[in-house]
């Protein structure tokens, strides 16, 4: 199959590569660019482990074909600074168990926090849970994940 030139920005860095048009963004990231922080649990758009931000929106990278990412700006977990409040909060609250859902979870949460900073409203928790509801976690039962998102948003911890 013919290759095409893919031009995109990943974690702030411009990347140009020749690739096949049926490749997914997930494959481009993991295989062509070696960014293995983005995980996969199905490659069918069912689990959310492959979540990245494309132009600020959270997407399942396994469902984005390479040409759709053309000219786009991609943020993967490698592009989130280690001192980012979400990373700190995930580590501090015990929201990371096997860690396989974590990168995708953090990016989905980031998209949420980026557009919904911290205004107090009663539905905030529910909205946060909704924001990560496309990201499945088999380990934590989600309680600590919500806790982490709250902490990262500067909200009071609801435990002790």
């Amino acid at each position: 199959m013919t290759k095409f030139l893919l031009d995109l920005k990943v974690n702030g860095r411009r990347r140009r590569l020749r690739t096949r048009p049926h490749k997914t963004l997930l494959e481009i990231l993991r295989e062509d660019l070696g960014l293995t922080g983005t995980k996969h649990g199905c490659e069918l758009g069912e689990c959310g482990a492959c979540t990245v931000l494309l132009n600020g929106k959270s997407v399942y990278s396994c469902l984005v074909l390479a040409p759709q990412a053309r000219g786009g700006e991609v943020l993967t977990i490698e592009g989130v600074p280690p001192e980012h409040p979400l990373i700190r909060a995930f580590v501090a609250t015990g929201a990371v168990q096997c860690g396989y859902c974590t990168p995708g979870m953090i990016l989905a949460a980031k998209a949420f926090l980026d557009r919904n900073p911290t205004q107090e409203r009663t539905s905030w928790d529910r909205e946060a849970l909704e924001a990560v509801s496309g990201n499945l976690c088999r380990c934590t039962g989600y309680a600590k994940i919500l806790e982490a998102v709250r902490v990262a948003a500067g909200k009071k911890s609801r435990r002790r």
Binding site: G37, G94, I145
Partner: protein, 752 residues
């Protein structure tokens, strides 16, 4: 521990690894549930450009299995295929695409046989059995304690239950990467048991064990699903040898469903006799397991059917009969809770019915019959610390159980149940005299501390426990300790991550290693006058690096009879759960409003991990209660080998979990700690079933509690039939005469 590296995406899982010259492997799987393989022609596949190696059953003929008594699998099917999805051939090629195309070029001819797809069919045994010896894999029959109940029973009740099969679904799909270096095999695999996998690889390839190195990188969830050695481990190794290049095989989600080794479907029957005042006199528990195509951990699972009922309740006279049958479906095996969630569901739902008929509260009935701490159960298990009574009281109180039970409006209800689990099996899979866990600590010339542990952290936090134990004893911050784990070359032996053994066993080994190091260091500085880190610098200055070892071996099991190896543990965890539900009688939908959970954890070493383990177990339990089922079409096809069809709870469906941690300080546990990973799953499912009865007056005697089943039971109720969904009676199984193990054996020293 490693949460940070996982959170920033630096932690490496098996599929993240890549080696120069690496090939991609793929596995061809059977489209038939039961068929003879007539021919397999791989010539076309072999000649496809880019294909570097092809292997079929004949290339890997040595049978193996995780249990020594069940060496009944080969990496690739030999004469027969026994389930849809069974591996029959594998290829390695330059790219994944080429490997996929090569699979399509393999000509496989089959002669289909009538499949055995249900317990009924397996028992009836028409047509060719799944294995030559017949469909019955294992039948166990044991009678414990008094031959007859100690008093004339005043009330007897019998119930039947069915527990549907389900699977682990770890978020990470299994992956294996193999390479050969100077005749030595190196395998990176997402496994929970690197040392067992090494043993199997050595067996199949005819190598000494030290010619095989298995490394478990970060593992993205296991829950028992990554315990068995798998075809992809063996095929990657074989293809790598034949191609002379590294080979990686990463499964698709669909293939993970075929690997399975998950929860056995179980048809159960329980009969108990009582005094009117609520004292349990006698129990007979019968269970029949649908094992799928191969043995896996099945024999152990069969014994576990009757194993842990007595750790929660005193049973003077106890009979257990359990059997496992082969069927043409992916093999069942150990999933979180192993063979105990099914009987726990049956027992706790049965007790709810007994309590109602005796006119006692469910909590009161349970409290009357609790197994006491520091005692030996009727089936010879030694219970040490037990915070069970406290769990029951606290969970009842915090949930407001007594005020709500039978008093909530129609459609809302509350249910109660107990659970108990092992802290590691006292008897290893492969019997030997060695310790179950060893830990080594090295203090290097610069005073750096490295801990070497063979335990695999599959997300449950065992690394944290090991490092924390060392840090606590040495009095240094955990961040200063480096951990090398789960590498059969670099780390000392460990049995692996199963039966909730890691905290207790590796934790104890780590504690001992740290104590030994402490002593060594202070001996060199002549006393404990200074903090460890300073003393350590002086000590290594004097004589270079220092090293210390610790190990753990559980106390011997209390009794010796066939089957007594399953169930003994150095300690047991206990828990109690109250579930409150709201049901919609028009749609059959149930919303869990709140779970109140009290767990006797011994001691909470790292509180967030403990809470996370319980919350995760509750989450998985609710999935099993309401959504999860691994079932098959009459053609033998899996009904939905994908996450869209096989549903579990998302963040929006998870109810509030109120946790109460009870610290009973186990005398043998590291710092008093006990397990927390598996036990909390157990009581949730029956608590929910009991709550649904409280809400709607219908009995869910079969999992999962789907809207369809709830509506069916409601319909039965409205036309005056028995308001329940579940099986009747129990199949006719040729159980052997029970072996009687009386209340005390001659010459037996009963501890405590």
């Amino acid at each position: 521990m490693d949460a940070f590296s996982k959170a920033v995406g630096r932690a490496l899982y098996a599929d993240d690894l890549r080696l120069p010259g690496m090939l991609y492997g793929k596995i061809l799987r059977s489209p038939h549930p039961h068929a003879r393989i007539l021919s397999l022609d791989t010539r076309q596949a072999e000649s496809l450009p880019g294909v570097r190696a092809v292997v079929t059953g004949r290339g890997l003929p040595v049978p193996y299995g995780i249990l020594p008594v069940s060496q009944d699998e080969t990496a690739l099917a030999m004469e027969k295929v026994r389930y849809v999805g069974e591996p029959v051939a594998a290829v390695a090629a330059d790219t994944e695409e080429t490997a996929g195309r090569a699979l399509q070029l393999i000509r496989a001819e089959y002669d289909p046989l009538p499949p055995v797809l249900s317990l009924e069919e397996a028992i009836r045994g028409k047509g060719e059995p799944v294995h030559a010896k017949g469909n019955l894999h294992k039948a166990v029959s044991l009678k414990f304690g008094d031959a007859n109940p100690p008093e004339e029973p005043e009330y007897t009740r019998e119930d039947a239950f069915f527990y549907e099969g389900n699977t682990h679904l770890p978020l990470e799909e299994h992956s294996a990467l193999a390479l050969w270096k100077k005749g030595r095999l190196v395998l990176y695999s997402s496994t929970q048991t690197p040392f067992h996998l090494r043993k199997i690889l050595a067996k199949v390839f005819g190598l000494p064990e030290d010619a095989v190195r298995v490394i478990a990188p970060k593992v993205g969830g296991g829950f028992g699903g990554k315990l068995d050695p798998f075809a992809h481990d063996l095929c990657a190794s074989k293809l790598a040898r034949d191609a002379g290049r590294p080979v990686k095989i990463t499964l698709t989600r669909e293939e993970v469903f075929y690997c399975h080794r998950g929860r056995h479907p179980a048809w159960m029957n329980i009969r108990t006799s009582w005094k009117k005042t609520g004292e349990l006199l006698e129990m007979r528990f019968r269970s029949c397991l649908d094992g799928g195509a191969y043995g896996s951990f099945g024999v152990v699972c069969t014994y576990y059917q009757g194993g842990l009922q007595p750790t929660t309740y005193r049973i003077p006279s106890y009979t257990v009969e359990s059997a496992r049958y082969f069927t043409n479906k992916p093999p069942c095996g150990p999933k979180r809770g192993h063979g105990t969630p099914q009987p726990r569901f049956a027992l706790e739902a049965h007790l709810d019915k007994v309590a109602e008929e005796l006119g006692l509260g469910p909590v009161e009935l349970r409290l009357k019959n609790l197994a006491p701490p520091d005692s030996t159960t009727v089936n010879r298990l030694r219970v040490t610390s037990s915070g069970l009574r406290e769990c029951v009281e606290k969970a009842a109180e915090a949930s407001g159980f007594r005020d709500k039970f039978r008093k909530l409006p129609y459609g809302r209800g509350i249910g109660f149940a107990l659970g108990s689990y092992l802290c590691g099996a006292a008897v290893p899979i492969y019997w030997n005299e060695d310790p179950h866990s060893r830990v080594r600590i090295r203090l290097d010339a610069k005073g750096g501390i490295t801990v070497f542990s063979g335990a695999t952290d599959i997300g449950q936090g065992s690394d944290t426990v090991v490092v924390w134990a060392v840090a606590e004893i040495l009095g240094v911050p955990p961040e200063k300790i480096r951990l090398v784990a789960a590498d059969t070359d670099r780390t000392p032996f460990d049995l692996g991550t199963y039966s909730s053994r890691v905290t207790y066993m590796a934790g104890n080994a780590a504690r001992e290693a740290a104590e030994n190091l402490l002593e060594k260091v202070y001996r060199r500085t002549g006393g404990r006058r200074m903090p460890f880190e300073k003393a350590a610098r002086i000590a290594v200055e004097k004589e270079g690096a220092l090293e210390s070892w610790g190990s753990y071996k559980p106390p011997l099991k209390p009794a010796n009879f066939k089957g007594s190896g399953v169930g003994p543990s150095p300690a047991y965890s206990f828990c109690a759960c109250a579930a409150q539900v709201q049901c919609d009688p028009r749609t059959g939908r149930v919303r869990v409003e709140r779970i109140t959970f009290a767990h006797d954890i011994g001691r909470a070493i790292h509180r967030p991990s403990v809470e996370g383990q319980i919350e995760g177990a509750v989450h998985m339990a609710l999935g099993e209660a309401f959504l999860e089922e691994q079932t098959f079409h009459p053609s033998g096809l899996h009904r939905g080998p994908g996450i869209l069809d096989y549903k579990f709870l998302s963040s929006l469906e998870m109810p509030e979990v109120k946790l109460i941690l009870i610290e009973s300080k186990d005398p043998g546990g590291p710092f008093g700690a006990k397990e927390v990973g598996q036990g909390p799953l157990l009581p949730v499912i029956p608590a929910v079933a009991n709550a649904i009865y409280d809400a709607l007056g219908i009995r869910m005697d079969k999992t999962p509690f789907t809207p369809e089943n709830i509506l069916l039971a409601l319909e039965r109720k409205s036309c005056g039939r028995i308001p329940r969904v579940g099986p009747e009676g129990f199949p006719d199984i040729p159980f052997p005469e029970p072996t009687h193990i009386p209340a005390s054996l001659p010459g037996e020293t009963v501890p405590c």
